[in-house]
């Protein structure tokens, strides 16, 4: 599944980042690398944007970027 399917206030683990070009590299550079843990802190009130915590910081992602991040549930 991808970040789009994630539930708020839940922990996940990154599997990988799909897509290509700038957006993908930016996500990789920010630390969305395999096995990295993340937490869905909030979804914007009008939807479309999700707030993710990882590696000690939070980042807001729109649908398009969120759909690139493949995750799995944290056991």
């Amino acid at each position: 599944m991808t970040l789009l399917d994630a539930k708020v206030n839940t922990k996940y683990i990154v599997r990988g980042v799909s897509g290509e070009g700038n957006a993908r590299r930016r996500l990789l550079d920010m630390g969305f690398t395999p096995d990295c843990g993340l937490y869905i802190a909030a979804v914007a009130p009008m939807g479309g944007t999700v707030l993710v915590g990882l590696r000690g910081f939070m980042v807001a992602l729109r649908e398009d970027a969120a759909s690139l991040i493949e995750i799995e549930a944290d056991k």
Binding site: L4, N22, A42, T49, M58
Partner: protein
């Protein structure tokens, strides 16, 4: 000796704070990403060396994403600095060190600063930075740039490193996991020709960096060989982060004193063990729960999530909290507190300056025109603006608080839903919120926007946000017409400005192709909540007082004298007071005045004040004051409606020449003229609509109220209907939990 030292680091790690400390400057800082959008430099003397300190915009990686990041990258790649001071933030050390590794790959001289140590200390933790220093083999200086920190120590270390530095000796072992040598053998010659180090270029090629690939000018055969090697983009990021995780493992730990404290707590919990069995079990359970909760929040903390956000960004509470904060700011600034100080200043100017001075001028038999100029032109006009100093300082104070606390980024996140629909990003919300302070400086912050069309659009929309210079106009007019209702009227102006901006943005997205940005990507880091220091608060207040007083004392003062003279002297008859002659402005502005008749203020006084307001918007009101006051300007059948329409026009037309200059700088001459036309057009059309509807209301209040109610009900029905239809076809993003969501179905099929 002369050296150049550049400050490089991720966004929002405190580069500019440190720069201000080192160079004793007052560059703008704030708790959000992308405050600094261009290179700033200053020469300082240290230890008989002349050092050119350069502050650069933040960047995450040498593979850049936006224009401002490319400024920093270019500077680093030119190797024009004798030393790079790389600033990291201790809260998310891993991502910060990611850039450090890239600097080391490039083999430039680096000194590492680890900033915000105070925040780590507050969490009861310590950083063993020697452990990292040992591996990276570069000097590390921990500090808290926000508070007083030992800048001298840093500069000593920096100078020492410049003098003794050869090449970095760090063993970047993770590079061995990548086929660097293979790539170097393919692109080595191209890299040398482009002026890159082959090893660095090879890493960038593996990362698929468009900029480096462009510079290398590879031929088809080389590209084909590289393609055949496979995709290493993710691998590069992964090995770097693995290396970082390895070298930082265990570097941050609980401080000894804190562990001690916890032990005591433990003992306290263990005391009742021997006394009461049942109570003990209960207590033990509580303790475990408490401990788990503590661990849980610790773990969230490790992921960078603040507990406060659970409330502030809660699905249902987010918007009410936002409105409450805005209302509070409004009530304090325009209500009791601001009004009290304004009243105090007004009283002071009237009793201590105006009265005595005009009395004295009359006693010494000064010519009537001098008394008029000093009394009405200068004191009434300039003083009329001066009294708003407290409100303007309060407004800037609150804006700075929103900025520094980190809340402004939350606002950008919350409003992203609206902004996405009209082709803007939440990042545009920053620029537009800054527009409540000063349009011209806000326009300049748009440079951090990554998309060119979006940047233009944001630049064009920002002037519609009601800047602080417009505040005296509303306040004065509203107070004299609507007394107790004036805070509501002023609030209405702010909302109207924002609404017009949003409507125009939607029109751009639909109708104007060069501004249609479509679906944009949006990746924005959210800063943690931070408390502004007392030093910073004082600095904000003092700065704004200074800027405001200088403005009042120069531009506004000069303009008022000119306007008063031109409006009280005629071409032939000299001073017009008591004579039957038309003044210069009366003739000139009288020519344009009929254009404004449909808006209800087609007289030369109103036109003159609007014209003079092009230089600085405050002058709109000071001109009115020196042209005989509000009663002389708003004449006709419905003076209060004319006054309201006048406020709407003031809100929407070109803020000032400085803003136009800023727009030209950010978007070019063509867009500056476009903006000029847009603002004039919007101001005229909206004012005309406002005035016409207002007239209809005045003519037949009952009928119009009926129509409004019907329209409102119809609008709600349509909104609900659209919502229903949307629901059927899947919503924008519902967290996957929405029952009739299209995507949910899709995912299930997967």
């Amino acid at each position: 000796m002369e050296y150049t030292v550049s400050l490089v680091g991720n966004p929002n790690v405190g580069k500019t704070s440190l720069y201000n400390r080192i160079t004793h400057s007052l560059e703008h800082v704030g708790n959000w990403h992308g405050v600094t959008v261009s290179e700033v430099s200053k020469k300082i003397m240290f230890d008989h060396n002349s050092i050119n300190m350069v502050d650069l915009p933040g960047l995450y990686s040498l593979s850049v994403y936006s224009y401002e990041e490319s400024i920093s990258r270019d500077r680093i790649l030119q190797r024009s600095s004798d030393l790079i001071i790389n600033i990291c933030e201790v809260n998310n050390l891993a991502r910060n060190l990611y850039l450090t590794l890239q600097l080391l790959e490039l083999d430039v001289p680096v000194v590492l600063v680890i900033n915000m140590m105070d925040e780590l200390r507050k969490q009861g933790k310590v950083l063993n930075y020697r452990q990292i220093e040992k591996v990276l083999k570069i000097p590390i200086v921990p500090m808290s740039a926000k508070y007083h920190s030992d800048v001298h120590l840093l500069m000593d270390v920096a100078l020492d490193h410049i003098k003794t530095h050869g090449s970095n000796t760090v063993d970047l072992e993770y590079l061995k996991k990548l086929p660097i040598d293979d790539v170097v053998s393919i692109i080595g010659a191209n890299a040398s020709a482009a002026g890159f180090s082959p090893r660095w270029a090879a890493v960038k090629v593996l990362e698929n960096d468009a900029f480096v690939l462009g510079k290398l000018c590879l031929d088809e055969r080389q590209s084909a060989v590289l393609r055949a090697m496979g995709d290493f983009q993710a691998r590069v990021a992964q090995v770097r982060y693995e290396f970082i995780d390895k070298i930082t493992e265990g570097a941050i730990s609980r401080s000894v004193s804190d562990e001690h404290h916890e032990m005591h707590e433990h003992e306290a919990h263990n005391v009742p063990l021997e006394t009461d069995g049942e109570l003990v079990a209960d207590l033990k359970d509580k303790h475990v729960r408490h401990h788990n909760k503590h661990k849980e929040s610790e773990r969230l903390n490790m992921l960078g999530v603040s507990r406060l956000d659970k409330i502030v960004l809660n699905k249902y509470l987010a918007l009410p909290i936002f409105l409450l904060i805005m209302a509070l700011i409004f009530v304090v600034t325009f209500g009791l507190v601001g009004n009290f100080f304004t009243w105090l200043l007004e009283l002071g100017i009237d009793k201590l300056i105006y009265g005595p001075l005009t009395g004295w001028l009359a006693r010494i038999n000064c010519p009537a025109w001098i008394t008029g100029l000093v009394g009405d032109g200068i004191i009434q006009g300039v003083g009329g603006i001066l009294v708003f100093l407290p409100q303007i300082v309060l407004l800037f104070f609150f804006l700075a608080m929103l900025e520094d606390s980190g809340y402004i980024s939350r606002v950008a996140f919350m409003t992203d839903g609206i902004f996405r629909k009209i082709g803007l990003s939440g990042r545009s919300a920053f620029t537009m919120l800054m527009g409540f302070g000063c349009s011209a400086t806000a326009v300049l912050t748009a440079r951090g926007l990554e998309d060119d069309k979006m940047r233009k659009k944001t630049v064009l929309l920002t002037p519609f946000m009601s800047c602080s210079a417009r505040l005296p106009v509303y306040s004065t007019i509203a107070a004299s017409f609507f007394a107790a209702g004036s805070p509501f009227i002023i609030f209405g102006m702010y909302v109207l400005g924002a609404a017009v901006a949003l409507v125009i943005a939607a029109l751009f997205e639909k109708c104007i192709k060069p501004l249609k940005s479509g679906k944009l990507s949006f990746i924005m880091e959210m800063p943690p909540y931070r408390l502004p220091t007392a030093e910073r608060v004082f600095q904000i207040i003092w700065n704004n007082i200074k800027v405001f007083l200088i403005r009042v004392g120069t531009t506004i003062f000069a303009l008022n004298v000119i306007v008063w003279l031109l409006s009280n002297f005629s071409f032939t008859a000299g001073y017009t007071m008591g004579k039957d002659a038309k003044s210069i402005l009366e003739v000139f502005s009288g020519l344009i005045a009929p254009v404004f008749s449909p808006l209800g203020f087609g007289n030369w006084r109103a036109v003159t004040s609007l014209l003079s307001g092009l230089v600085a918007k405050e002058v709109v009101i000071s001109s009115i004051e020196s042209l005989g006051g509000i009663e002389a300007v708003f004449i006709g059948a419905h003076p209060s409606l004319s006054a309201l329409t006048f406020m709407v026009f003031t809100l929407l037309y070109v803020p000032c020449v400085a803003t136009l200059v800023a727009i030209k700088k950010e978007a070019g001459l063509k867009w500056m003229f476009f903006s000029l036309g847009l603002q004039m057009g919007a101001a005229y059309i909206v004012s005309l609509l406002f005035h016409s509807i207002g007239l209809l209301f005045l003519l037949n209040a009952g009928l119009m109220t009926g129509i409004c109610i019907v329209a409102a009900v119809a609008a709600i029905c349509i909104a609900v209907l659209i919502g229903k239809l949307r629901g059927k076809h899947g919503c924008a993003y519902c967290n996957g939990g929405c029952r009739n969501c299209e995507r949910r179905g899709r995912n299930n099929k997967k």
